[in-house]
Assembly symmetry: C5
Homo-oligomer: 354 residues x 5
């Protein structure tokens, strides 16, 4: 996950505030889509170039401009001019390694988040930078590539489900953030299930691969924590924001989102603890095995070494060993051997070694 | 316990604020019960359908509406309309995975808790979502299924015990929360007794099952902590609430409840520490045993391997070994063997190995 | 220590605020003693029943009512009526498992503490609940049984030592709390000495009992911490109290008490750390011993197993083994054995194994 | 890193506030450079001695005086007089072991930081003390030796890149701090890459040198944390500064710098955790190996010791051992040996020992 | 270090506020010295008895009364009367186990610290209680015995070095505290050097004494932390003091002292971490050694036990063993032995065991 961080460095030495795209370009050409709506009307417009962006300021209806692809500094710069955005906002939009945060500016609230999605095909989590700029009359969202995360929200707008068509752009911003957080929860749940499924294996037959699995999960859970924890912080700051961009009616929803993020982080912490417990159990089971191995060795050694000694005694070639001449000596030796063995076995049995 | 969390995800993609039941439906049909009381009068009414709910607002007496079963979104929605509840309240009521919390709204205080009960028959803890909505003239409680947790409170109302009939609906809300917290304490005590009973076993004869037992207790104690910690937070917020729904006379009782919750959490932390100590003792005892095993092996090996070597020497077939011909060689060998053995035993005795 | 906690549960289901004694009754019959004093006068009265309590309110002198034995709910209730105490105060007084705390009420300050005393005869610490109720004109103290902890304070009153006769009931309350905290320090010192005395044993010859000892001390130190930490919190709250019951002149003394409690807790933390270090040293010494055992085993095995092999070779019965016929073969074998042994010993010596 | 600290002690016993250089002198002679600029003009002057410093106070353009080499107390003292700096500022400038901090004085803001640079030639990080003094009309920076860290900033000034020529000396101070923090990030990234590259080695074939490597990285990461953490604190204090020296327009940039520092520290913490995980994996792999060693030993011992015993039995010289005379005894013995071996191998195979 | 604490207990049962010396008396007779100075004048007076203390109150110059030896309660009491000090101040002065703290009283600021000095002769740290009482017109310092810690300050006064003669008694108090903190730093540096010197030994050849050394350093570092941490707290409180006894001009110096104390504590924490790392390295090296020992044992056992078995086979006395009669059997056996040995050695070599 540390790789996120690096890109920023490529811009080292540049003027702070200069517009540079930091990240991997994920699509070839940026595209845009505007959705205007109010209680009664709904209009969706696909926009090819910046020039086509209509003058939205002052409109009464909700205006949602969504940009896919943020590598085009020219485009971002132009949008910045149209909406009169602070240079730092533009810089942050272009930085895909931006830490989740929210900043208040005179004319807008800037929100940066990470969208996490589990890519079923590639079997891995893909992370994408999402920036929201909430102004008095507009909401602009910046994604790295076209994706269908927000499609359910668009559906709700289209089908007039819920309160979305009755509310302003602040509610829309909330709805989008809620969708992102829901995706976090889905991921946490997914990995959580896998972690819980590991328990049986840990308890019954931990292997060296089990340990690697635990370490992989630990890394993943830690990564999720690092992404979601600042999001919680950010939402907390939104609930305390006094910019007025989030209306009083929307505030309870933001507070609810905060609860959700808190709950998610607590769940992450729970899984972290479970993984720690797993590690402990693994280590103990290792010691237990070592104990077993040592016991087996000791039982064999303690029984057969003395017996071999006895046999050794009568293998000596001394000229005068009285026992050698007795007729039943050999059988007596066997008797002694059997008795010694029984005594040893009893001893170890009493020690509960087997 | 992570399972609690998942259900929310089933609602992923839905409009935030839309009413969906999240959880396992525990009874077939919801039922309701209203208790009206003041100092002199008491009335209990079982209600079959929403339409029968009488217009309670403005009544001087205390009105307590209790709903069993929260899977019926229609019903919840209807109650929301009657009592003019915020959509988020309704949403939270329907979410059995809701984290304990309290929210202030214009006309009511919403409180969410988890009721924990030890089911003696099934030998396990059952968790149930409890929501309280405290308004100026009413108290509504939502449970997942009929249960007798609140029966003692009803008894006190019926028998005019304590100050309950002399106080308002805020005191009733407190009394109900107090009952829930008392159940937490009972559970903590129960598990605590079992943990303390484990001590002797740990100290004297720790087995591999003992370790598993410790891990089970750790998980359970951790679960209780996760349920009760946010409850404490919630009560703390109630003590600082300025909604005026909790009257000045009730406040000392809420503060007392806070002390109780704090005490419970401290006890949980104590048990957590005890379990950690147990784990340490267990590990040390494992090392001790390993040490024992190694000592036994070493004693046997160190005594018999040299002896076997001596016997081996005189088992060689060299043509000229002067000792072989001496008459008492064999007995001298035995003497040497006995002396070596005594020296070794003394050596190990001095090292306190046995 | 967890046992403290349980008693509360026996009251489960009762109305909160109802008066129930929670704890073990320690004496048969409650008794009372009143001390009136001011700069010039001193009066001590033993009181047999509640009826004899004189009307003290409004008196100019300091009135200290001490009750031994708190199991008599009737008595406590009666005192509550006489002094107009809040029901919660009475409930807390009756609860011997009450966590140290202070609560401000309109007409009094309630303070709950634990008195710890080392019972030299029974060789164990006895804990007793102490409640102080400081009103404008009175100080009431509730102990579980007659004891001489406060005797030095009474002596000071009788002998006019220090400033006690010149000060009000708030100074008396402080003096009593100071006595209790002094007892904590005495206990911490006692156990601390024993812990420090353990060091030599740990460093030189740690036994399995040493480990148990460490664990016992850990539990005791942890218990002291749990008792004293909330007392510190409570005193901190007293220093910030604005009830005016503690006068400005007494405040520096309370602040001094806070320093003392802080110091005590720091000392406890120090001992906790020392015990942790002990545990570490113990574990390391265990590993060291295992290392020693293994080294001895390895030295014996590595020297004698090859030698036995050599002897074994010449114990074979092959018809043609040229060496067997040489006259000095046997002595040469011995020579080889001696050389091998010397080489091995040097090798292990160079490895610093012995 | 502790060495930083020591130098201060050399000044022990001196009057606090007396000017002493604390550190290693890194260049022979101090040199100075002044850059004056505003939107339209730019002037760079190299200054040989203090006398040449022009009277800058009151100038409208930005005046940046940079001093290389801070061992010349005379020079520093003189500059202090010219710009009317507080004696403590001068003392802090001369102390190369100064902890990163910012202090507000009546006429200036003092900022102390550490510049870290990776010296590719010497293969190690070099640390240098940087002091900034931001006054109303001037910015003075003190470095230990000439270096090119600030060259990109000078380039931007010269080439009119970004907003630097349009902004005041506060923006210049920000730009310099930003450059320093960018260098931190570069270092963290560098070491982070090396840490991540270590993972494969840890997982596949951890050696004793791997452990030393981990410990080296731990020390380095810990050092970076100790340098950067107080820088973050310092920037936080700047964002809250009310001196007015940082203008309202520059504030968002400082806040952005704070985000960057926070991000850096979080990354450091991540690497710290990764290193901890590495250590855990290393220890577990050590245990695993021990287990392997023990298993091999046990397999050999458990198979061959009983076999040797069997052979030993028939090596005895008893006169009457019936088996010895049977024609196929020898082959039967071999059969028994093979069977025992197969049984043992199966037993260990079933235990998954090989 | 816990011993510090105990002394207080000797005063158990005494009236709080009564004057008792707590500690070991370090000199026979107390002595006193007064230094009066202002910008122009300087007067040093040695005082034999309390009666000789001149009336200093109201004087314009700085008056510094230094008392060596604090066991004389009579003297302390008398000084308390002369300067009108609060009884708690006197009590704290007499308690050599007093925790570092500062208390504000109406007419003075009380400061308690520990002076630590490394006694080169006795090779150990000696701790001494230092109390400062800063009034409007005076500064009184109480030391346990005559020592030269403050001599450099006196020298500066005498030689008019620095700003000390130009400043008031608050600056003098600061200068004395600065000297004490400088001594802390010197001690931390000293022990830090020893800790760093230990590193090589730890990495190359850790012995059991090394472990004891680490534990000694841990204890010492922990002790320093416990002494210096409350000093930092105390200085922090001084920077926030509103008594006005510390003038505005002195405040930056106190803030500087705070930085120094913070830096010292951070250094202590660094050394604590280094010691933890040492412990880890030590433990790992122990495991490594055990691994080595086990490998040697296993190599010897795995090679020679099978060989001994082969020899044992041909040592049996079966009448019909075909191999025995073959002429080259013996040499073939040797061949087999050599081959087996080579195979085993290769096997262990491939496993990198030697």
């Amino acid at each position: 996950m540390a790789r996120f961080f690096k890109k920023r460095v490529e811009a080292k030495g540049l003027a702070p505030g200069s517009l540079v795209f930091i990240g991997n370009q994920k699509i070839e050409k940026s595209s845009m889509k505007i959705i205007h709506y109010d209680k009664e009307h709904l209009e969706e417009i696909d926009i090819a170039s910046v020039e086509e962006i209509p003058a939205l300021k002052g409109a009464k209806s909700v205006s949602w401009l969504n940009i896919y692809g943020i590598h085009d500094t020219e485009l971002i710069n132009r949008i910045g001019e149209i909406y009169d955005l602070h240079p730092l906002v533009l810089e942050d939009i272009l930085n895909t390694g931006q830490r989740p945060k929210t900043d208040e500016f005179d004319n807008c609230q800037f929100i940066a988040m990470k969208m996490l999605q589990y890519d079923e095909e590639e079997q891995r989590v893909s992370a994408e930078q999402l920036s929201l700029v909430l102004g008095k009359d507009f909401l602009i969202t910046f994604q790295e590539r076209p994706g269908d995360v927000f499609e359910p929200v668009r559906d709700r707008i289209r089908k007039q489900k819920g309160r979305i068509r009755l509310s302003g752009n602040d509610y829309l911003a909330y709805a989008l953030m809620d969708t992102v957080v829901d995706n976090y929860i889905y991921l946490v749940e997914r990995i959580g299930e896998q972690i819980e499924d590991l328990e049986e294996q840990i308890l019954e037959n931990p292997q060296s691969e089990t340990l690697q699995q635990i370490n992989v999960f630990k890394r993943e859970i830690s990564f999720l924590g690092k992404v979601i924890r600042p999001v919680r912080e950010m939402i907390l700051r939104l609930t305390r924001s006094e910019s007025g961009l989030f209306h009083k009616e929307t505030m309870p929803f933001v507070a609810d989102l905060l609860d959700l993020a808190t709950h998610t982080i607590e769940t992450i912490d729970t899984y972290r603890e479970i993984l720690s417990d797993y590690l402990n159990i693994y280590h103990t089971s290792m010691s237990n095995r070592m104990n077993e191995v040592m016991k087996i060795l000791t039982i064999f050694a303690a029984i057969f070494i003395p017996l071999t000694f006895i046999a050794g005694i009568y293998g000596t070639n001394f000229e005068y060993i009285p026992e050698l001449g007795f007729r039943y000596s050999y059988f007596i030796m066997w008797g002694v051997i059997v008795i010694v063995t029984i005594i040893m076995l009893r001893y170890f049995r009493r020690k509960k070694w087997f």
